[in-house]
Amino acid sequence: MTVRVLFFAYLRERCGVREAAIDLPEGATVSDLWSRLLSRFDKLPAEPPRFAVNRLYVDKAHPLHDNDELALIPPVSGG
């Protein structure tokens, strides 16, 4: 399956990318995806940000599905 990953704010600037398509084996979780991202983007910090899948906050155990949209959410600072 393929998951679309979105980068925002300082993560977008550090990694130099707005989005990436990542292939994963069936049954992969957010945690698995994060490991994959760490190996691909060496500017990512070791400490994970918050994650949102299809525009909802989820935890790292959340199972992923084909065509999911996963966003890396650094600490928000709207207002």
């Binding site: 928000v76 709207g78 207002g79």
Partner: protein, 147 residues
């Protein structure tokens, strides 16, 4: 309950927001506007620039509005956040709530802006004299990468 949520690249029209929440069943409305301050933690701020995960930001505002409607009897709620450059003195965010009585209008508006700031995926970059940085609770943007 009437509700409206928006992310916008142009000036926030607070008058339109108040008109939207106005209703014959409302005894009052509370509006909060956040504005760009000329100073932050001792730095002279020149402007702010906001970035949003727009689709989720609007959905998250709606979830906050639904939670407000669940907690308080309100008549209408609206939230708007601006993205892009917001010069000093201009409005970056507005939350308006109308209700039969002012207790609800105040409590719901306060909850709305507090929760928006904690959960809505929007990021602020501060441009100050001598530099720029992404604003975050832990200044995580300054953390070293692994590579």
């Amino acid at each position: 309950m009437k509700s409206a949520y928006k992310v916008t690249e142009i000036s926030i029209d607070t008058e339109a927001l108040l008109a939207f929440v106005g209703d014959p069943a409302a005894g009052g409305a509370t509006l909060f506007v956040g504005t760009t301050r000329n100073e932050n933690e001792g730095r002279v701020v020149e402007r702010l620039e906001y970035e949003a995960y727009e689709a989720m930001a609007v959905e998250e505002m709606r979830r906050i509005g639904d939670e407000i409607a669940h907690r308080w009897g309100i008549v209408a709620v609206s939230m708007v956040h601006r993205v892009g450059v917001v010069p000093v003195g201009q409005v970056s965010v507005a939350v308006a709530v109308s209700a039969a009585h002012r207790e609800e209008a105040f409590a719901a508006c306060r909850f709305g802006i507090d929760t928006l700031k904690a959960t809505v995926p929007i990021w602020k970059k501060e441009y100050y004299e001598g530099g720029e940085h992404w604003v975050g609770p832990c200044h995580a943007h300054g953390a070293a990468g692994r590579g």
